[in-house]
Amino acid sequence: MRPRPLLTAFAVVLATGWVSAQGINPDISVIGDVRAFVTGDPNDSKKDELQLDLHGAELALGGYLNPFARADVYIGYHDDEIELEEAYATILRGLPGRLQLKAGKYRVDFGKLNLLHPHAYSFLDTPLVHQVLLGEEGLIDIGVNLNTQIPIGSAALTLSGNVLKGDFSTSQHHADEDEHAHAAAGLWARQPFVRSLHDDIEIEEEAEPGLGYSERLGLYIPTGDYAGFEVGLNALQGTFDRGTGRQVRLLGADLKYRWAPDKYHSLTVQGEWIRSERDLWTPDEPLERTTASGFYAFIDYRFAQRWNTGVVAERAEGAYDPSVTTERAGVFGGFQLMEETTMLRLLLRRTDGDALEKPVDEAILQLVFSLGPHKAHWF
């Protein structure tokens, strides 16, 4: 065979390019959430039977754009749909006033927990109050965030503000639609109470959201080298229908305490309360404002390197009908198989509420696996 110098040279160039490209490739990680569960929900056609579910999978890409900025993208698979969950760029350092700037679609810093992806929760699911008042998966929107941190001795005061596109205000509406569409298939059978907390879909269908604004003030105070607490205040204002001028206002307060004396023990005590005000509209009637609130609180104790246990309690009023309340309480435990890349969690919980004839008990076993680089744990 004749030598092909051009082809060889082309191959060398390609190979060199590939090698150098590897160095600037983003970090890639994949997280899966597989569940086995039994529910006592009378509306579930498989009540009291063992059911299996690929609850979700997530592809995360992230890396530095330059020494001072990075970008992150999260693509999620839930309920047979693929969705761009987050895509944002952050200028981390170099801005005046110790500012950080984030732009794109992202989890809004309304409270501490909303920043985390649900697979990181020891108690498995997005808290009721988040589902009802923030959105099915929490508060995620397209926007621009500006935040700064002010040192006060060894304490840190964080001030943050967001300008949001306003999609958050209709997220419950979409959640409602999805929920009803999937209810027959039993996909929402694990959370029968969500159905009871939403109503007035017709009003939501016509909504044309306007810009929203949210603010957070968080104060972290260390109480030791590896212990401290943070208190936060959160507010959000937005127009969720420009046509009728309907507004939504959220107010929240959160507290987190964490103590981690060594690699084998830690204690987290965390809670959040949220109050919402929403305008309701019906033809030929003046706007009516409804107020609803809710909270969650949990204690998570790590008693060995790979074992943790805890309790969670929640309460939420319906966003549009606060007289419909739901309470939920559970006990959970987690076990890392070898490393934190493979996690088994068990949750036993009871849900009760105005819309339920009798309390619904559930047992959920979750397997979370994560491929890719280890990520640091944030307070």
Partner: protein
């Protein structure tokens, strides 16, 4: 007026120099090294304090505050303290100079194959526990020296003199530690984690197995059973463990087999009296020599 200007020229630089150079390090050993090089011109603080595992550090807002005020950050490097980058990013400090203390260290156990999680927490740039070899202090110090000089070039001569003096002091002590461990050259030990290749190479100790079946993976019953048999064979003379690990399983293994357990600090500040690098190596050498029968 001339006198005033002359006075200002005289006092000005010393006033500027009085402002300490702020350095934050990932580990206290590097904070100790920075203090040795920077002398009175630096204020140093470590993210890790006390008896902690360097591999896993939770990111506290107070860390960002510290680094936000710093001129220089010293990383362990080699992907050991990956969390440090998140602290640096969270600090919002655009003027921060970052130094990788491993830059000039000759790396050991650099994988020659594709590394993935099936090998445990294997580091692609090699074993990162180089600070446990006193012979690498010169290389670590040179990286830190370069960083300090970037921040304060006017003090280069002082930093250089301090570094040389410190390395001389460590080298002198190293001869003593080597002499005390020389009788045990070639002695086989097992360790809890893969923290010791640099130390072992320096002092001629052979680490032949680990409590962890793979780096970062907790001991399993099967692995412990295999280790028990190995220790009963009589070739292994000590179980060397890092003090931040739970010692219940190593204690049990030691009781079952009669092989002494040597639990030592691997970081400055991880045990009472271990306040600098010299004290750290003194503590490790003394514990090991005593356990191996020398008692020197």
């Amino acid at each position: 007026m001339k006198k005033l200007l002359a006075l200002a020229a005289l006092i000005g630089p010393s006033l500027l120099a009085a402002e300490p150079l702020r350095v934050v390090t990932s580990i206290p050993d590097h904070a100790a090294l920075v203090r040795a090089i920077g002398g009175g011109e630096v204020e140093t603080e470590s993210i890790i304090k006390g008896n902690r595992d360097v591999h896993a550090v939770e990111l506290l807002p107070s860390f960002m505050v510290k680094v936000g005020r710093a001129d220089l950050y010293v990383k362990v490097g080699m992907d050991l303290d990956l969390w440090a980058q998140s602290i640096i990013d969270g600090s919002r400090n655009g003027k921060l100079i970052v130094v990788d203390a491993s830059a000039g260290v000759e790396k050991l156990e650099v994988p020659t194959f594709k590394v993935d999680a099936s090998y445990g927490d294997l580091h692609i740039y090699g074993n990162p526990h180089y600070w446990l070899d006193p012979g690498t202090i010169r290389a670590q110090g040179e990286a830190i020296f370069a960083g300090l000089v970037r921040v304060r070039p006017a003090s280069a001569a002082t930093f250089r003199a301090n570094l040389d003096a410190y390395v001389q002091k460590v080298d002198a002590a190293l001869k003593g530690w080597q002499a005390r461990l020389a009788p045990f050259a070639g002695t086989q030990v097992i360790s809890f984690h893969t923290s010791w290749p640099y130390f072992a190479q320096r002092f001629g100790i052979q680490v032949v197995d680990f409590m962890e079946p793979k780096p970062g993976v907790s001991p399993t019953p099967t692995h412990i059973a295999a280790l028990t048999e190995r220790l009963k064979g009589g070739q292994v003379k000590a179980i060397l463990m890092e003090s931040y690990f739970d010692d219940r399983v190593p204690q049990m293994l030691s009781r079952t087999t009669g092989v002494p357990l040597v639990k030592v600090p691997v970081l400055v500040g991880a045990a009472p009296g271990v306040d600098d690098q010299l004290a750290l190596f003194e503590a490790i050498t003394t514990s090991l020599a005593t356990a191996l029968g020398g008692g020197h």
